[in-house]
């Protein structure tokens, strides 16, 4: 049984996302972990360009919005200058992967000691649901109106696996949100990723499979079903790498 549960006080007001958007759950998990790890003020959230940039003034922590996709570079700077600060780069898949691939990969390659939360909702949500590297084969988006043609555009990208298998980073995992159990697992991944940073083990990244009901043209519940049936078989859930902390 739960012994009292209350959203973190540092979430100041209603999150600005569409009904059933996964960003709302993920932001809460991030803020819960920050609270439970005892970080009151020495914490910074890197915001992306994307729907999460709507979080302006919602969170009572320091934030920094980098240029589109470039938080791998921005967070590197901040973490190097403030090594005791908990630095969390919250990014969409379009931002973190398509647009910021070089910065994202170079930060992992250098094993920069900050944490990335990558929200995989299979499209560029904020701008109207354009196809992204994470869009599934056959997925209809505003720039693949007949469905994604992988003959022309390649197969969806699995950046967490690339990072885990290529670089000497500390922690990589992929979570989802379609049941309370999956949400709790995702929270444990986010917390371990932050702990790896706090312990100085190295770079950490958690990808979360997240519904975007508005651009998927599905109800929130049908969006969660799509994640179970279509996304999880291609984007396996669980810890991909865990070098452990102190």
């Amino acid at each position: 049984m739960a012994k009292g549960k209350k959203a973190p006080e540092k979430i100041l007001r209603q999150v600005p996302f569409c009904p059933g958007c996964g960003h709302g759950i993920i932001v809460r998990l991030v803020m819960e972990c920050i609270e439970e790890l005892g970080y009151n003020d020495n914490v910074l959230i890197g915001k992306p360009v994307g729907c999460a940039s709507l979080l302006d003034n919602n969170l009572a922590v320091d934030t920094f919005t980098g240029a589109h996709g470039r938080n791998g570079a921005s967070m590197t700077t901040i973490k190097r200058l403030k090594p005791d600060m908990l630095v969390v780069s919250y990014q969409g898949d379009g931002d973190c992967y398509n647009i910021g691939f070089s910065e994202t990969m170079n930060a992992a390659y250098r094993n920069e000691k900050f944490t990335v939360i990558a929200v995989n909702n299979g499209n560029f949500g904020m701008t109207g649901g354009q196809m992204a590297w994470t869009s599934m084969p056959g997925q209809k988006t505003s720039t693949s109106v007949n469905g994604r043609n992988v003959e022309l555009s390649g197969m969806p990208i699995r950046v967490p696996e690339m990072i885990a298998h290529s670089f000497d980073t500390a922690y990589v995992a992929r979570g989802a949100l379609f049941t309370p159990a999956e949400i709790n697992k995702t929270k444990s991944y986010i917390k371990k990723a932050m702990q790896a940073q706090i312990d100085g083990v190295g770079h950490s990244l958690v990808e979360v499979l997240s519904p975007c009901p508005t651009n998927w043209g599905l109800t929130p519940l049908a969006s969660m079903e799509r994640i179970v049936n279509e996304l999880v078989p291609y984007f396996p859930l669980g810890e991909i790498k865990n070098k452990g902390g102190k």
């Binding site: 049984m1 549960k5 209603q14 059933g20 709302g24 759950i25 309370p180 949400i183 929130p220």
Partner: protein, 66 residues
Amino acid sequence: MSKVIVSKDKCKQCGFCVKHCPKQAISFSADFNSSGFKYAVVDDSKCIACGMCYTTCPDCVFEITE
């Protein structure tokens, strides 16, 4: 005090809490909240304060009091 406090004006009627409440204690209101959504209503007599609604809600609607 009720087991769950519902901030009804934050609710966006996504339905996650209704689906995952193990006691079918949550239903939607007949009227609309300030954002124009039917909002989650908890039947305190069925609720076991398990917190599943808190966990699944994207909009921080629920506070579990016990």
